[in-house]
């Protein structure tokens, strides 16, 4: 890589979290550099989603440290608000706002959080729709779109806030096989443009092609970290080997 900033943009140190008695995150420590694409894989219930939801505080960690862009996530509401502004998130179930049109979905946050004018926000919205390849759907309601189109709108909605980091929580798991590709293409384009991305996914092809680093989660902890080449050609940990042998 050429001249990137040396400072990591996300730092997690010894992250711990419990759901009741259940220890869902165990001493998770990760550093993510700017422009890096990190793909997180692992079996269901291994804590991958919980981990990335902690980063924008949709879940609250109970022990350890999360520092995003030099700001630590604490109970301080102002910090949470600032950090959320810098992080976009895409959900498995899209979570578009069904009562708003596509364009309103996208321009809602810039207008109300960034205090942009409606014209500016809608201008930006149309540009983003162009970028994700569905400019003609601007005035439709989410219910009128296919799953793949909805997920692309969700990506555009997150990008409208001009975030520094994008979190993807299994973005293709709820999609028909034919629609997965159109969403992955958008994500690849985004990765190519230098966005810092954390992606929870089961798409091994995407991981192999796009990821700078792959994290393997199991039972709430990081089992193995490595480049895609290392990961898919030469995994070391028996749990990783077992997982990969079952899905590939």
């Amino acid at each position: 890589m050429e001249n990137v900033i040396r400072e990591p943009i996300i730092v997690c140190r010894n992250l711990n979290k419990w759901f009741g008695e259940f220890h869902v995150l165990r001493d998770v420590s990760v550093e993510v550099m700017p422009r890096e694409v990190v793909v997180i894989i692992g079996p269901s219930g291994s804590g991958k989603s919980t981990f990335i939801r902690c980063i924008n505080r949709l879940e609250e960690h109970q022990d350890g440290q999360i520092i995003v862009d030099d700001m630590e996530l604490t109970h301080d509401v102002r910090n949470i608000a600032t950090i959320r502004r810098e992080i976009g998130m895409v959900f498995q179930q899209f979570n578009l706002f069904p009562h708003l049109t596509v364009l309103q979905n996208i321009s809602l946050a810039p207008i109300n959080v960034r205090n942009w004018s409606r014209d500016k926000a809608e201008q930006k919205g149309r540009e983003l729709l162009e970028r994700v390849g569905i400019p003609e759907q601007a005035d439709k309601y989410p219910g009128q779109l296919s799953g793949g189109q909805q997920q692309r709108v969700a990506i555009a909605r997150a990008l409208a806030m001009e975030p520094k980091i994008m979190l993807f929580d299994e973005p293709t798991s709820a999609l028909d096989p034919e629609m997965i590709k159109e969403v992955l293409d958008v994500m690849k384009e985004l990765a190519g443009s230098g966005m810092t991305m954390l992606v929870v996914t089961h798409e091994m092809g995407f991981a192999r092609e796009v990821a700078d680093r792959v994290l393997f989660f199991d039972q709430g902890r990081i089992v193995e970290v490595g480049t895609p080449e290392h990961f898919f050609e030469n995994p070391q940990h028996p749990r990783t080997k077992l997982f990969l042998s079952q899905i590939l």
Binding site: N56, L58, A81, R84, R85, I87, G88, M89, F91, Q93, F94, N95, L96, F97, P98, H99, L108, A109, N112, V113, R118, E122, D139, Y141, P142, G143, Q150, A154, R157, A158, M161
Partner: protein
């Protein structure tokens, strides 16, 4: 011999054509077979419900047309609509109705795709409203029967002498036709069919004839029974036989009433005089041959029909109709110069039953006594009426009451529709003009907020000198009060209910516990209790609150009551929103209040539109309870009008009428709610 299947790949390159679906339209007979007579059980069900429906409906419609007395509704129509709202201030209510009609017109242009059939139906109905009354006026009004002569009329054990004078009011140019009712004097069967307005004497004649016919029929029946009781086939026991013979002994049939009274056998002298001056307009003799005379009346006001003769006569008159006497008092009115233009005092108003024409001219007096008049209490329409009488007396009159109003309402709706369509075309839509009806839709949405305020201001006033002075809320009543209570209840309880719903879900324990206690407490008591508290307890808390008008205190009570139920409905909607919505909004950086206002609440409200409308409908009907705390809403007026001496015993007519009014409004609300749900603004838009 091999049983292996040849595995062969098949590729279909030919596309089958896309065809229209087969025609599934079936005739009415097939529809009946499929839907009403599809199984033995279904056949039985269809037959039973058909029989119940037809018999029930038939007797109901028969009652409506031939027996019910709808004058009570026609005469009290203003009260049913406005209560005792200030005379002369009706203009405000009319303006209010027109504003509503205009807004409805705009809303139709903005939201509705008016189906052609419905439009057609509406046009036909409105046209009927204007075609029917003149057509009905060509049907002659039923006659009034007046007795004459010098012989007492006997019915059973009571007697009644004919009254020599008979007062009535008429307008200039109207005619009165008089003749002896010879068609009724041929036999008792004819006389018993006297179904019209009649004075006491005439009613005695009818009753005597009817009683005689009934006795005669009973005698015939008993005689037949006794005759068939042959010794070898004993159909009657000894005891039954003895009872019947005793009854037969008590029954005796006199000669026909028409014969004993020598009805219409002698000439009757008549004279019509002016009620004020007693000058004779015309006079003469009615001959027993049934020839008719016609008198033209020169001016508006009171007239007296004087009649005398020997024997008993029954005059059939056309143009004399029963009256309603209303007493009221009023203050004096001054003109600009300070002169009295209208005196103060107690007055009697005389209203003609058949067309509601009224006069304040005083009732004539003869020898110090008021002249007897065709008064509604003793000349009510008797017996079974005919369909044409129903049309002339009730339908025509009622349409006359409505007609002017309907015309202006139609004009206002059309104006609203036209203006909205024009505005959508002419005014440039701001921003991206993706919705061609944006202007009318904006107006329509704003009017939802503005309309209740305008309505309230018009009804209550603003008190700026002569401009819309305050009205006395104690005089509000009828439909006006019902609608005002409902409207204020809905508008005021809405924000309160939403706040309570959010409060109950709040993470702050004080707010959530306070909301919960309020909601559960109010839902645990009946509305009546809340109304009584507003009435009786509030003044105890602070005497200054007692100075509030009763109406306003009741409004507060209704609002507080409704808010608790509304809160629970809204809370249900909030719970139905998937948690992902809130997460997505938070992840975008929206703050808590923004998440609620922009994301969860709008969706929750769309979810619960049916429940909310249901609640508003029940609120609309629940306002009838305010009659108990002394307000005369629609049901309160119903209570007071059935207590009027002229209309005693007409409960069914009154309650049927207000049921119809309540139904129309509730149905319209429900229909709008169904449209809202079906349109994209409802829950249908959900992913």
């Amino acid at each position: 011999m091999t049983d292996s299947f040849e595995q062969q790949a098949l590729v279909y390159y030919d596309e089958p054509p896309v065809k229209a679906p087969p025609l599934l339209v079936v005739g009415p007979l097939a529809w009946l077979r499929n839907n009403l007579f599809s199984s033995p059980f279904n056949i039985i069900l269809t037959l039973i419900s058909g029989i119940v429906l037809v018999t029930g409906l038939a007797s109901f419609v028969t009652w409506i047309v031939t027996q019910a007395n709808w004058f009570i509704v026609i005469f009290n129509f203003r009260q049913f609509m406005l209560g005792r709202y200030e005379m002369g201030a009706e203009g405000r209510v009319i303006l209010m109705v027109l504003v509503i009609a205009f807004v409805i017109g705009v809303a139709l242009a903005a939201w509705a795709r008016v189906p052609r059939g419905l439009l057609f139906l509406t046009v036909i109905l409105v046209a009927l409203m204007f075609i029917l009354p003149p057509a009905i006026k060509t049907i002659p009004l039923p006659p009034t029967y007046v007795s004459a002569g010098d012989a007492d009329i006997v019915s059973g054990s009571s007697t009644q002498p004919p009254i020599p004078q008979w007062g009535f009011i008429a307008r200039a140019g109207e005619t009165v036709e008089l003749k002896l009712a010879v068609a009724l004097s041929s036999d008792d069967a004819q006389l018993a069919t006297l179904n019209s307005f009649a004075d006491v004497g005439a009613n005695f004649l009818r009753a005597a004839a009817a009683t005689r016919l009934r006795d005669q029929a009973r005698i015939d029946e008993i005689t037949t029974l006794l005759a068939t009781n042959l010794p070898n086939e004993r159909t009657l026991t000894d005891r039954q036989r003895a009872t019947l013979e005793t009854e037969l002994g008590r029954l005796s049939v006199p000669e026909a009433v028409t014969t004993t009274t020598a009805l219409n056998q002698t000439p009757i002298n008549w004279r019509i005089v002016r009620g004020t001056t007693f000058e004779t307009i015309d006079g003469g003799v009615l001959q027993p041959d049934g020839a008719a005379v016609t008198v033209m009346l020169p001016e508006d006001g009171w007239y007296i029909l004087e009649k005398d003769g020997s024997g008993t006569g029954l005059i059939e008159s056309r143009g004399i109709y029963p009256l309603l006497e209303r007493n009221f008092s009023r203050g004096e009115t001054l003109d600009d110069a300070g002169d009295v233009t209208q005196a103060a005092g107690r007055f009697s108003e005389y209203v003609r039953m058949t067309d509601s024409w009224s006069t304040l001219e005083e009732r004539p007096r003869i020898d110090g006594d008021n002249v007897p008049m065709a008064q509604i209490i003793d000349t009510q329409y008797r017996g079974n009426g005919t369909f044409s009488d129903w049309l002339t007396l009730y339908v025509g009159n009622f349409l006359d009451l409505l007609n002017d109003g309907i015309l202006w309402i139609v004009v206002a709706v059309a104006a609203g529709y036209g203006v909205a369509k024009l505005a959508d075309q002419v005014l440039p839509a701001r921003g991206k003009a993706r919705d061609p009806r944006i202007v009318s839709r904006r107006f329509s949405l704003w009017s939802l907020i503005a309309l209740p305020i305008v309505m309230f201001v018009l009804a209550y006033g603003v008190g700026l000198g002569d401009f819309l002075p305050f009205t006395d809320t104690r005089r509000w009543g009828g439909l006006l009060l019902t609608i005002m209570l409902t409207m204020v209840g809905i508008i005021a309880s809405f924000p309160l209910g939403v706040l309570l719903a959010l409060g109950r879900r709040s993470s702050l324990p004080v707010i959530s516990i306070a909301s919960t206690i309020y909601i559960e407490f109010v839902r645990g008591v009946p509305l009546i209790t809340v109304l009584f508290m507003a009435q009786l307890l509030v003044p105890l808390i602070s005497p200054s609150l007692a100075e509030f008008d009763n109406v306003f205190r009741v409004m507060v009570g209704i609002t507080l009551f409704s808010a608790a139920y509304l809160a629970e409905n809204v809370r249900g909607g909030l719970q139905a929103i998937p948690p992902g919505q809130e997460e997505a909004a938070k992840a975008l950086g929206l703050r808590g209040g923004q998440v609620t206002l922009l994301i969860t609440l709008p969706q929750a409200l769309r979810f619960v539109i049916p429940a909310l409308v249901g609640q508003f409908i029940s609120l609309f009907k629940d306002t009838s309870l305010v009659a108990i705390v002394g307000l005369t809403d629609l049901s309160g007026i119903a209570q007071t009008s059935v207590a009027q001496t002229e209309f005693l015993g007409l409960r069914r007519e009154v309650y049927l009428f207000i049921a119809l009014v309540y139904f129309i409004f509730s149905y319209v609300m429900a229909a709008i709610s169904r449209r809202l749900e079906a349109s994209g603004s409802g829950a249908a838009r959900r992913v």
